[in-house]
């Protein structure tokens, strides 16, 4: 049984301002819940409609009715489990390795894919400009899976951050230097990726030391690669050396 006030509280967490205020977020589905628990994310409350989950899983959860789950779920067809987790406390960014910085990436799916890519390529720090979409957006969480727990995500003023850094700043541009000719034996740097529609903003561009570009092999068009696929290719280039 979920009380009316709890239902309201959990529904409110669908909005960023409530998530930020309470430092909580919601995920749905057994796979991601298990991943986050395994990665030592701290649960606030876990609700399930499944006796099997209640019996099998080591984490503490509360059995509720399907009607109640429907009330707290953001999904049209709810899974059998919904969990509220505490947001990870952002740690200070160590500049001893490569890191990724996002300049106003707005699509939650793109952000989720980028977090997952950071995790795959051993990038443990992700800096997001203040206007970048919330990493606890449900669509972002859906795309990140458990990676969320392994990447330190910090929101802040990107210009200030780039002005203060002492490591090289690379940025993805349509007219940058061919990335295949770049020397990535260097062990630290920042890769800046821009907004979906406008790319890197002029203010941020002014703080970039190396502009890089992925060569186009097909018919030359004005279209660019999607920011998440471009990040995939560039992180692969950086790590392959």
């Amino acid at each position: 049984m979920v009380s009316k006030s709890q239902i309201k509280f959990i529904k409110n967490l669908q909005q960023k301002k409530y998530r930020t205020e309470h430092k909580l977020f919601v995920v749905e589905g057994i796979k991601v819940v298990k991943e986050l628990v395994k990665a030592n994310m701290k649960p606030y409350a876990i609700y399930t409609t499944s006796n099997a989950i209640l019996a099998e899983e080591s984490f503490k959860c509360e059995l509720i009715s399907e009607a109640d789950l429907k009330k707290i779920s953001a999904l049209k067809t709810p899974n059998n489990i919904l969990a509220v987790f505490h947001q990870a406390k952002a740690a200070e960014i160590a500049e001893d390795n490569w890191l990724v910085a996002l300049d106003d990436v707005r699509d939650p799916g793109n952000l989720g894919t980028i977090i997952r890519l950071c995790d795959w390529f051993g990038i443990t720090n992700l800096f997001c400009s203040s206007q970048t979409v919330d990493c606890y957006n449900p669509k972002t969480l859906q795309a990140t899976m458990g990676s969320m727990a392994r990447v330190n995500i910090v929101y802040g003023n990107l210009e200030d951050f780039l002005q203060a850094t002492k490591i090289p700043v690379y940025g993805a541009f349509m007219d940058g230097k061919n990335v295949y000719k770049e020397d990535f034996t260097i062990k630290k740097g920042i890769l800046v990726m821009g907004n979906e529609a406008n790319g890197v903003s002029p203010e941020v561009e002014a703080l970039i030391t190396k502009k890089i570009s992925i060569p186009q092999f097909g018919t030359k068009t004005t279209e660019s690669l999607n920011v998440a696929t471009a990040t995939a290719i560039l992180l692969n280039e950086i790590r392959r050396g």
Copy 2:
């Protein structure tokens, strides 16, 4: 003014069986309409609520009311233009270059991203297994932009296709050979990418000559990369040589 029967006809095209039956598809938004017209895709009908578009654009379109556009649109908040195009006739696949083959990719966004990647990397042929999501799905079209017009997409039996081919067949697997060690100076081959949840099916796996894999640099997990980002990285590896 759009007649009732036209409204019904266009709404029906939201379903794959009607699109296939009539060999038509629907796109919304000026950018993609312009891209497809420019790429010589043949319009069947174009509707707009904008006098400016009617006056400025060279293609023939019909001025309709916002109420009518809302009736034929699949979007909650319609753009000011909706177009019905003829589906491109699939051409025979020439095996004189690299091509991509998909084994039951189900997410329309992933398919759209992969089509866009093919276009970027000069892959002009894409073979889709019969169970792969329809390339004229609205979410696919949203992700492809104009690339759709530059990639020849063929649906069919993937096993038969791979059995008949004379060029090498590469496939993406978690336990494949490190792709960085692969010699991609060869000028033709097939890259097979698997289903989001299950990867490449055993039947298709049996027809693959080289299993390749993208190295993981972060904490080793059982999670894989998303199929679209993995395709991005592998096509980049193939083209960089």
